[in-house]
């Protein structure tokens, strides 16, 4: 594997570890509640009354599906971009030499 690929996989590994370590270290008895929701709870402790409610609020199951849809659309567009860019580069006449690995 080239140095380029090794560094890329290490970056992926770093992101996975940063997400996995809290789950493993802190343990399963933590809820990992969303920070946005914690802010709402903190405000609810005062006598503040929200003056506007969401126009449309999906059920929790639907919401998780919509979040997945959001990620899927974004991932799809990103994948399409890299596919097109890679193909273009492959089909292009080799006018410029491929660049060396960028400094890490």
């Amino acid at each position: 594997m080239s140095r380029f690929s090794v560094v890329n996989w290490l970056l992926v590994l770093g992101v996975v570890l940063l997400a996995a370590v809290p789950l493993l270290v802190i343990g399963s008895d933590t809820e990992f509640a969303g920070a946005d929701g914690m802010a709402v709870e903190r405000i609810d402790e005062s006598d503040y009354q929200p003056w506007f409610a969401p126009l449309f609020e999906p059920a929790p199951e639907t919401a998780s599906g919509l979040f997945a849809l959001q990620a899927a659309i974004g991932g799809g567009v990103l994948g399409y971009f890299f596919g097109v860019a890679r193909t273009r580069r492959r089909n292009a006449p080799p006018a410029v030499p491929p660049p060396a690995d960028p400094p890490a």
Binding site: V21, D36, A39, I43, W51, A63, P103
Partner: protein, 224 residues
């Protein structure tokens, strides 16, 4: 960083909307200009928007025992300058406010200011400074993306502290509380976002070096 619907008093909601609106309008013009003047970068522009779309949907656990999500605005700000991200970030926030009840219409101005204005400008400033100081592309991109992420959440904490000062300790006390909720949770996530953005930029230097060069992003340390 999504302030929930109705959780900013009307005066604050209006004020943040007034502050954010010019950036978003200017951003819309910047997107149109970018597409007209450099149509070959259209696809890359879409990819930068898609990156924000994905990252802001991913809620990740943090060492504080709570979850939050990255913002993904650093990449587009580095590639296309911050105004473009003012529009793209606001589109993402609008999608989430209308379809997911995540954030809200009354808080869209405040949320757009933190995620689509402050984050991108911090990213651009940090990137430019790091490159001027002789930093490599990866180092500059990492710092820019991570600090954009973190500054967005710090902005949210300030916005909430101003709107909901603590009964006894006032705005500073509230800032400490909201800062603990948002900023501390966000530190590992900001590192994640930095790493992911470096990964994407590295891949971009491979698949579309010509577009990057046109946008002024150069892998080598010398200034263009």
């Amino acid at each position: 960083m999504h302030i929930a619907e109705g959780y900013l008093p009307p005066l604050h909601a209006v004020a943040w909307t007034v502050v954010a609106a010019p950036f978003v309008v200017h951003g819309a013009r910047a997107v149109v200009r970018q597409v007209q003047e450099e149509p070959e970068t259209r696809l890359l522009l879409g990819a930068a928007g898609a990156f924000t779309f994905v990252l802001s949907a991913l809620k990740l656990p943090s060492v504080t025992g709570s979850s939050s999500h990255p913002t993904g605005t650093g990449l587009g700000a580095i590639l296309f300058r911050p105004p473009v991200m003012a529009l793209l970030g606001t589109i993402v926030l609008t999608f989430q406010a209308l379809l997911l009840a995540h954030g809200g219409i009354t808080t869209l101005g405040a949320n757009a200011f933190s995620m689509a204005v402050v984050g991108p400008w911090v990213a651009y400033g940090v990137y430019t400074l790091a490159r001027r100081l002789g930093g490599g592309l990866s180092v500059a991109v990492f710092l820019a993306a991570a600090l954009a992420d973190l500054s967005t959440y710090c902005t949210t904490a300030v916005q909430l502290a101003l709107a909901h000062p603590d009964a006894t300790t006032g705005v500073p006390g509230a800032l400490v509380e909201f800062g603990a909720i948002f900023a501390v949770t966000q530190i590992p996530l900001a590192v994640s976002e930095g790493l992911l953005t470096v990964l994407v930029v590295r891949l971009l230097t491979r698949v579309s070096p010509a577009e990057l060069a046109r946008l002024g992003i150069r892998p080598a340390r010398q200034e263009a």
